[in-house]
Symmetry: C2
Subunit: 486 residues, 2 copies
């Protein structure tokens, strides 16, 4: 029997700054604060290495690249190149882990290794009072300012309890030694669609189970529908409903899914990939002991321009904040949190960058700036075209659509939703334009090479410009013929 | 025996505007002028359809896409996808011509078909006096303003006379019915490198013969060398020397090439692709009868901001001008020429877009804004990185380099040279920045997704910014320690 630790064996560390988590945002915060003071401690629970490098962006892109090559074999014939081949699942995962560990995770670890030992502490942190942490069982940390960069974990519904030994999440899927014969993918978010399509293209019998019926990365109903139509033409998708029960037998893991029309479908799989979102690890930190303010949903209230949690000297950053859970935002937030912790109690609000999200599916899904939904109520002009420039025709990749939203009054580009082959590049071009509040006219001053995917962006901006001209002419006519009321 | 045409059978057409050539720039000019007047004539020599659609951008990109698929078969294994296959040369060309003719050329022809017959004339035009053209043998055209949009033709040296029936140019290579067994590619410009690499990847034994030893699309010596090194690691290239003789026998066409060190190499080929540049067709127009001014090299003098030829009411546009022989410039020039013809005799100078050039090789070569060579004598900061962001690592495409040139004083981005996988997208992002005279700092305000190729651009701008800081600090130190002379 384990006895309670006596007071005398408890070690207490006093520092000015405590950073909880050594992922992308925690390391970003560390790099800023360590330049100013030696009085800081970074506390890590579990192995070092960022979510991005270990289980996120990098291994997923490595898997997708392998799936691209498998897919080429099926599309090659059209171009006059007869191709055949097979996927060696063992080799796919072996290479994925080798590249991941030797390049991306190794980079993380090299950085962590250079951090002096007295700046690092390993163990799970939990607040036991304001400014007061317990870490593991034998250490307490007292600090003046805290940065919560403790990341998130995959959310797995209790309905999967009976089949847990066949359940994978993004935390475990990349540890497979071979491709499963079949897989159920639960969710229609970025992880579900990227990995579901990649596994399908690598030869795994894949079924995707959605919930809302919508691909919510996009917000315009036409874009959502077109994305679903295109992906459904390749993948086996049940977009709407819920998993009502699961069980396991010798055949595998069974899923009973109730569709929105009440009909139930039952299927058996080797594996189940649950990709229904991630939950912040902040709920495990004992935040109730800090005096922090909570939303009705139990989330810590913070200001995204300073990352400061209300009524505390605590800052939050990265996936822990659940604000914009993508790498470049985690990186920014770590730095914003650090700058403002250094400046505490006088935080300086920072203008966040325009939001940018990319799904590395085929076709890709991307959204930049303000979404169609966010622009409801504003007078906007929608430039819109199929994703089919001459270059896309050359590639035989002409599925999808682009919508660009202009402020009707000024012509400034406010946002865009994209669904198309390699949409990421057009999204970045728009990102630069939106960052600097450019008009369509200003972007159209740039040279655009022929034939390039960027011609599509040019053409959709021309479309928006023409529509805005008509809009302006009609507004003018309206103002000429209707008596003014003011 | 054909008798000379009598005066009485000669038909004379009087119009205000004559456009010579119905390619990209000619059609662009036509679309502008035809909106303002009915008094115009577009004269076309040979079949309709632009250089771009028939023998340029589009068929070359179609061939390159096929070669990409052939290449995938050789790189697939690395990713765990074992692949094999073969290239069906007949099918490659059949598909190339089908797509080209049914999509791109057909688009041209549909546009031309809609032009009213009295605006079109077919035949070769030649000036017989100022304002006075002979077209073919039986028509004369008198016009007040002219637009020369007569394009260019491949230049073929006389050394190839003995093997002309085995010589191909970009005008004829896409008419092949199958892949040759072997080909000599003469030149190291865009056509030579794009088609040479594509044919090699499709299985043709390919040898490329350069002249200057340099890939002149790039101007920084390190970039030129790295491009040559990378391409030479895949392709059989003799970069420096000249073809001294050719002859044909039962084995094929022989080429004797004298290298810069004086050594001669002799090889035999099925085919020879001469891609040593193109010559403007203006030399066939009888410009000596127009009063136009000529350079020492015999080229017509014109102002690239108005496209007006000195001392004439003649404008020039597109490949005929030999200014920037790429599609988007031809398109612009047709419109600039048309606007200024409409405004004659008061042409309005137009600011040209920053120059942009892309080679669709692998890795791609791109240049945007001012080249390193053009910036000689200015104080510049060179941001420089290998073309190897995390995304490039994921793709296993890490060859090449990017250089970005900043004005040392202001930090404004002046130009860039790129050599890397899909460099075209970074070149376009820089194109927008350069068009609006942005600083590195301004571009760095945009969001950049992880992992994306655009991270490379971010990182090279950070590199440039840091170097500029050091430069500024040193300049400051210098000014503090050295007595001022003024």
């Amino acid at each position: 029997m384990r006895r309670p630790m006596s007071e005398s064996t408890m070690k207490t560390i006093n520092v000015e700054y405590a950073i909880i988590g050594a992922g992308t945002s925690g390391l970003g915060a560390y790099s800023k604060i360590s330049r100013k003071t030696d009085s800081l401690l970074m506390i890590q629970d579990g192995p070092y290495g960022t979510t991005c490098a270990r289980v996120g962006c990098m291994p997923s892109k490595l898997l997708i690249t392998a799936s691209d090559y498998a897919h080429h074999l099926t599309t090659s014939d059209f171009f006059g190149v007869t191709a055949a081949g097979h996927v060696d699942g063992h080799k796919v995962f072996e290479r994925l882990r080798r590249e991941r560990d030797e390049r991306f995770v190794a980079n993380n670890l090299r950085y962590v290794d250079k951090i002096p030992p007295h700046h690092k502490l390993e163990g799970r942190a939990r607040f036991i009072g304001p400014g007061h942490l317990r870490v593991g069982e034998s250490v307490e940390v007292k600090a003046e300012k805290f940065i919560l960069a403790c990341g998130s974990r995959p959310a797995v519904s209790e309905v999967f309890e009976p089949v847990m030994d066949r359940v994978l999440t993004s935390d475990t899927v990349f540890e497979l030694n071979d491709l499963p014969h079949s897989i159920a993918v639960i969710g229609m978010g970025v992880i579900a669609l990227e990995l579901g399509q990649a596994l399908h293209r690598l030869g795994v019998e894949t079924t995707i189970y959605g919930r809302s019926g919508k691909i919510n990365a996009l917000t315009h109903p036409d874009m959502q529908q077109e994305a679903l139509d295109i992906l459904s033409s390749e993948l086996d998708i049940y977009p709407t409903g819920q998993v009502v029960s699961t069980w396991e037998d010798a055949e595998g893991a069974w899923i009973e899914f109730e569709q929105s029309n009440g009909r139930r479908v039952t299927k058996v799989f080797d594996r189940i990939l649950v990709a229904t979102g991630r939950t912040s690890n902040v709920d495990r930190l004992g935040m109730e002991h800090t005096g922090a303010e909570f939303t009705e949903a139990g989330k810590v209230v913070f200001d995204p321009q300073t990352m400061l949690c209300s009524d505390t000297p605590i800052f939050i950053a990265g996936d822990a904040a659940e604000y914009l859970p993508v790498w470049h935002e985690a990186f920014d937030e770590g730095r914003i949190a650090a700058d403002n912790a250094l400046n505490y109690p006088d935080p300086v609000p920072v203008d966040r960058r325009p939001p940018l999200m990319v799904f590395f599916t085929d076709p890709q899904i991307a959204i930049i700036g303000q979404s169609f939904r966010e622009l409801q109520g504003l007078e906007i002009i929608i430039g819109e075209l199929p994703f089919a420039s001459p270059r896309h025709v050359v590639w035989n990749k002409v599925e999808g659509r682009i919508q660009v939203y202009l402020d009707a009054r000024t012509g400034v580009i406010l946002g865009a939703e994209l669904l198309g082959y390699q949409a990421e590049h057009l999204a970045h071009l728009l990102a630069l334009a939106i960052t600097h509040s450019m008009t369509a006219e200003q972007v159209l001053m740039m040279p655009v090479y022929h034939p390039s995917a960027e011609e599509l962006l040019r053409d959709v901006l021309i479309d928006a410009r023409e529509k805005r001209r008509i809009y302006a002419a009609e507004a003018m006519m309206h103002s000429n013929t209707v008596p003014a009321y003011s």
